[in-house]
Amino acid sequence: MSIEDILSSRGRVRILKILTDIGELNISEIARRAGLNYTTTNQHLQALENAGLIRHKKFGRIRIFRFDEESPRARMIMKLIESWDANK
C-alpha cells in the first residue's frame, strides 16, 4: 500500500492518531473514539495491519491493536503525528 493510500483516508489517519495517543485499544473503543462504525473500523485496521504499520493481540474474543513498534515506518508515522499535534 502506498503512502497516498494510507494517508488519503480520514478514518485511517484518525485511527493512527488514536493509537498514537492511547497505545493499545480494542476495535469497539477505536470505532467509538474515531466516530466510525465497527465494519469500517475493522476494514481500516485490516488495511493498516496489511501495510505492516499495526498489529494485534488476541485474548479470547477480544482483539487489541497497537502500532508495530518494530516497523521503522510505523515509528516514523507515530513521530509525525506526535510532532504535528505538539506544534498545534
Binding site: G23, E24, S28, E29, G60
Partner: protein
Amino acid sequence: MASLSERRYFSVFKDESKLDINYVPSSLPHREQQLNFLNHFFRFAVEGPGKMAQRVLITGKIGTGKTVLSQRFGINIMREAQEKGINLHYVHINCRECKGSPFQILQRTILEFYPHFPRRGYSAEDLLKMLMEILDEQNAYLILAMDELDALIRSAGSDPIYSLTRVQEGRLGAPQRLSLLCILRQPEHLDLLDPSTRSTLQRNLIQLEEYSASQLRDILSDRIALAFRSGTVSEETLGFVADSAASDGGDARYAIELLWRAGKYADASESSTVLPEHVRKAAVSIYPVVRKDMISSLGLHEKLFLLGVARHLKQTGNAYLSMGDAEEAYGVICEEHDEKRRGHTQLWKYVKELTALGIVETEISSVGKRGKTTLISLPKVPAIDLERELSAMLHAKKR
C-alpha cells in the same frame, strides 16, 4: 502582624497523608512475624516462578492490619521480583468495592494490565480466561489479593473462588501464574465454601490478633513521628489514644483516625499541642457513644459524680483523674446542689456501673506513683460537652 498570621496558620500536622487510611508505612510494628510468614509462603514466586501457585488466607477483625500487611508484602515482593527480572504483579482488589461481583474483580485485575480493556461485554468466565492469556502473553505472574472476601462469598458463594483456585488445572504443563491472597474478616464465612476450596485455603492461614494498648502505642508513635510536628503530641495524649482504641477492640484504624481527628480539633482551636480534650472531642465525633438518654437514666448521685469527673478533667486538662480526686470533686458538687454526699463504697459502685455503660473507663495506676489508685477517664466524650449536658439536666430537675 507576623505573629498573628503565624499563629493562624500553625498546624500540629507535618504531613497529614501519613494518617490516611490508604497509607502503607514502611515498617509494620508487631506484624513482622506475619510478614515473614507471607514471604515464606510466596518464596517460590521470586525463586522459581511458574513452578507452583499458592493460596494464602489472612483473617482478623477490623483494624488488625490485614490490608496493610498484605499491601506491604505486595510492595516488597514486587520490588524483589523486579530486581531479579521477574515480571511479578501484586494486585490488590477490594471485593466490597466491587460489590462482591466476580466480574468486577476480574475486570479491575485486567485493567491493571490493559488500562483500556473494554469495560463490558464479557462474562466472568471469559475474563478469567482472558486474564490467563494476558499473563501468558506478557510472561507475567500474578498475586491477586482479594480484600474483604466476605463480600464475594456472600454475594456469589463459592463458585468464583473455586474457579480461581482451579484455573491452573486446565492448563497442564503450562506455567502456574495465578496465586491468591485472600483476606477475610470473619472466618465463619469459610463454611460457605465447598470443602476442597476451604481446605486449600485453611492450610496456609495467618490469623491476626487484636492489638494491645502497648502495641497500639508503638504503631501510633511511628505515625506521630511521620505525621505530626515534633513536640505537638505528648506521651499522655498518645497513651490516651492507645488506651481508648485498645478498649474498643484493638482497632488500629480507629486509633489512627482518632489521632487525626484530635489533631484537627487542635488546629481548629489554634492549640499548639494535641491535648486529651481534643481526643475526647474526636472520639465523640466518631462514635456518639454517650447518648443523652443514657445519661438521663442515671440516678441523681451518679450524675453528680459524673459531673464532678467531667468538671475536674475539664479544669485540669488531664486525660485521667484518680479516684481520690473524683471523690473530692464529687464532694464539691454535692455542696453546690445541697445533697448529702455518699460514701466511698457507694461511689465505687457508681464507677463500676458507669464503666459497664461505657461512659467512663478505669485503669489501675501503675509505676511511678505511690500506692494504687483507680484512674478514671472519659474516652469518648469531651468533658465540656458532658458537663454542659449534666448541668442542664440537674438544673432542670431542681426547678
